[in-house]
Amino acid sequence: MIRRKGLDIWSFVTLGGFIIVGLFLIYPLFDIFRYSFIDKDSGAFSFCNYIAFFSKKYYYNAFLHSLIMALLITLVSVILGLPLAFFTSRYRIAGSTLLNTLSVLALLSPPFIGAYSWVTMLGRNGFLRQALLSIGINIPPVYGLGGIVLADSLQFYPFVSLMASGALMTTDRSLEEASRNLGARSFRTFVSVTMPLIMPSLTGGALIVFMMALSDFGTPMIIGGNYSVLPTLAYNLYTSEVAESPGMASTVSIILMLCASLVIVLQQWASTRRKYSSMLVNRPKPEKLHGASCFFAHLLCYFIVALSTLPLAVVVYYSFRNTNGPVFTPGFGIDSYRTIFFDVPKTVANSFLYSLIAVILIAVVGTLLGFVIARRRRLSVRILDPLLMIPYMVPGTVLGIGFIVAFNRKPLYLAGTGLIIIITYFIRRLPYSVRSASSILKQIDPELEEAGINLGATPARTFNTIALPLMKSGIISGAVMSWITSMNELSASILLYVGRTMTMPIKVYMSVLDGYFGTASAMSTILLFVTGLALYIVNRLNGGADKAIIS
């Protein structure tokens, strides 16, 4: 590490980091914090919002619902994800690459697509439910807790399977061989050696699922029915309260954020605990299965992935059905797509434009800040580093409320602009980009940059000619991942959009609410296609999107 006194380009980058964090995180979050302590009627400082939250059933139920829902989703995700990871990483499963790709596609699909697809299948008039009714089986409509758990588990379980299979593929084979050599049977070896070895990764994956479930907004909104959770409660409170004084919505936001922070702290703790997957010399080799066990392993893996792909397939199918307004009519066509491109071309353009600008900002700023964090451990950087991780713990709904409160007045009046949506995308994704850039850099020997300096190149030139080219593929795949998440962002932008800044996820959401399933399906299919394309690019770049997701 080069330690010199005085200012250089990296001092300004650090300063820029503080300005971004201060303006777009601390300032709006502090506003929410402040409002949560203001009595709406008198305008005085008071704990009345918090007292109300924990005394009125309407409020604290949402809190309990959130925890129950997130717990169930985590549990189901582990039940789905762990066997899939085990079989695909330890045994030869035909088409495991396809399985992997499909599950990742489900994971990265627009956040509410599953919910809305399950509604079309198992909702009140869902075709699957109707079909079952016609043969005399009456299952209740999917709305409520069950629906949320179904849709979210089938979307989020790949977090568990990716983390677990990552660990399963890098545990030292000789450890399991030692166990068998000492006389333990396969099952006992799995329970007493393999499981403890992959436990840190499994816990990490489960906590990510918990976090995603806790802050998910779209799914509970569409399929939750009356099952109110914290993000939907905050949203509903905000949209029904007077915008100048979002007291109760702020309180709910703060409580949601506290829960999220707790999960993040747990997750950090889990991920910093000792990882055992260090010896890469003796990786386990996938074994071949025979007979019945082979059949059942394939059946299980394909069933799990098929179930999670089903909602996507249904959406694509419906996008090509003919419609007449909200009603599906017989036959196939591209009416729904025509409707989109003639009626709301601006929405499509907005999505692409905003996410593209955001991604460029994310890549540039994230790379610069990532470099500072990996290579300059000065005091200022050590303060900035955790601050940059704040967006991890701020659910989109909370950030959206914070933005609309803080930027609906001078000095920064941004409400109703496209810029505020771009900034939302930017700030929500920035920590991922910073972290991935700094972790790439940590794998690059600092001696390489020192060699550049030693040969007479200035620090800036060394960064441009040595660090940057080595980081390039990592930066691009990180940017593509950011692009996917920005294209599919709903929970914050739904609070911030106005008619002319509407984006595709918002339009899908509105169409679902209005019952225009054709339009929603076509729009979702476009998003899905874009997501798939982006995944393909990432795969080509670094031979696997998995790394980009779980890093």
Binding site: R3, E447, L448, A451, N454, L455, G456, P459, R461, L470
Partner: protein, 367 residues
């Protein structure tokens, strides 16, 4: 040719003192080695010369120029790194050309100088290869060519051979030595390998805990170590506890557990002073003439055959001694458990003070 002068250098990392009052001069054209165990401060010193660290106190001169406040990229010190640090995204030629491009040398000249540099490290024709197609030794040659091509004021080598296998290490070290002498460039060489240091250096500074223990030619370092650390770090040194029990002329008598030994007389010696007698394993004689001086009886604990030599582990009444002898014969006498006579020629014995761990200079010594 540039000299290096370091005056009163201090450097701490939080509470650890990495360098304490380091003073040294490297003469123009000299190959100067910093030798010590890991964590002794040798790499810190090298990196401070390169400008990667800023010293807390003291001055660094390259030639007559004080470079304390000069950033690393202006110091013109060609560095060869332990992990080679060959840029993986550039070809061999691009790696070597990097420093020249930074200096805005024009195209034709770059090609010419890159070719010459690659030739000097015996990598002709490798210009278009990428680093992942090269072996470790070849990568280190690229590192060397890249450092030399900019015609630096001094060459800095940070454990350049430690990642290579034993045979290649010996080959490369003589090559580095030859190139350095041919160019006449001043070089500072960091290593923890004492044999490498002895083989390659004009002078050596032995470091421990951030302090220079001794500076001198390889011969001086090996033959007259100034303290126990240097004596045991550079080569092996047997140490026998004893007590001065008499003197005659230029000799003293020392009482040890193995009997009385005769040693060269120190400048000052007092009766019953406690001393440590040191001697190198190769100085001992096996089965000396019955009336020869310092003839002791020892029990063989082990015998390790190493080809051209064999190492004996001996027990001299509780003190373990190592003895090296040449052209070992298949000899049943030297089996573990048997007793042999060993001669310790008095002129090869060194005396150390067990308190200060410093050498007690003998009368004839030029300390």
């Amino acid at each position: 040719m540039t000299s290096i002068r370091i005056v009163g250098l201090e450097k701490s990392f939080s509470t650890v003192k990495a360098l304490q009052n380091v003073n040294l001069s490297v003469n123009p054209g000299e190959l100067f080695t910093l030798l010590g165990p890991s964590g002794c401060g040798k790499t810190t010193l090298l990196r401070t010369i390169a400008g990667f660290y800023r010293q807390d106190a003291g001055d660094i001169y390259l030639g007559d120029e004080l470079v304390n406040d000069m950033p690393a990229y202006k110091r013109e010190t060609g560095m060869v790194f332990q992990n080679y640090a060959v840029f993986p995204h550039m070809t061999v030629a691009e790696n070597v050309a990097y420093g020249l491009k930074v200096r805005k040398v024009h195209g034709e000249e770059i090609t010419k100088r890159v070719d010459a540099a690659l030739k000097s490290v015996r990598l002709e024709g490798y210009g278009s290869r990428t680093p992942d197609q090269l072996s470790g030794g070849q990568q280190q040659r690229v590192g060397l060519a890249r450092a030399l091509v900019i015609k630096p004021r001094v060459l800095l080598l940070d454990e350049p051979l430690s990642n290579l296998d034993a045979k290649l290490r010996i080959e490369m070290r003589s090559e580095i030595h030859d190139i350095q002498k041919e160019l006449g460039i001043t070089a500072v060489y960091v290593t923890h390998d004492q044999e490498e240091a002895l083989a390659i250096s004009d002078r050596i500074a032995v470091l421990a805990s951030g302090v220079i223990q001794q500076m001198g030619t390889p011969w001086e370092i090996y033959k007259s170590p100034q303290n126990i650390f240097v004596a045991t770090f550079v080569g092996n040194m047997n140490l026998i506890e004893g007590e001065i029990c008499g003197e005659s002329g230029t000799r003293i008598k020392v009482k040890t557990s193995g009997g009385e030994l005769i040693a060269p007389k120190p400048m000052q010696s007092r009766q019953s002073t406690k001393v440590l007698i040191g001697f190198r394993p190769e100085e001992g004689r096996i089965n000396p003439a019955p009336d020869s001086e310092n003839r002791v009886e020892a029990c063989i604990k082990g015998n390790v055959f190493l080809g051209s030599t064999a190492n004996l582990a001996l027990d001299l009444n509780g003190t373990v001694l190592a003895l090296e002898y040449h052209r070992p014969a298949s000899n049943n006498e030297l089996k573990a458990g048997s007793h042999i006579a060993v001669g310790l020629p008095s002129q090869s014995l060194l005396l150390f003070d067990p308190e200060t761990k410093r050498r007690i200079p003998a009368m004839g010594d030029v300390a």
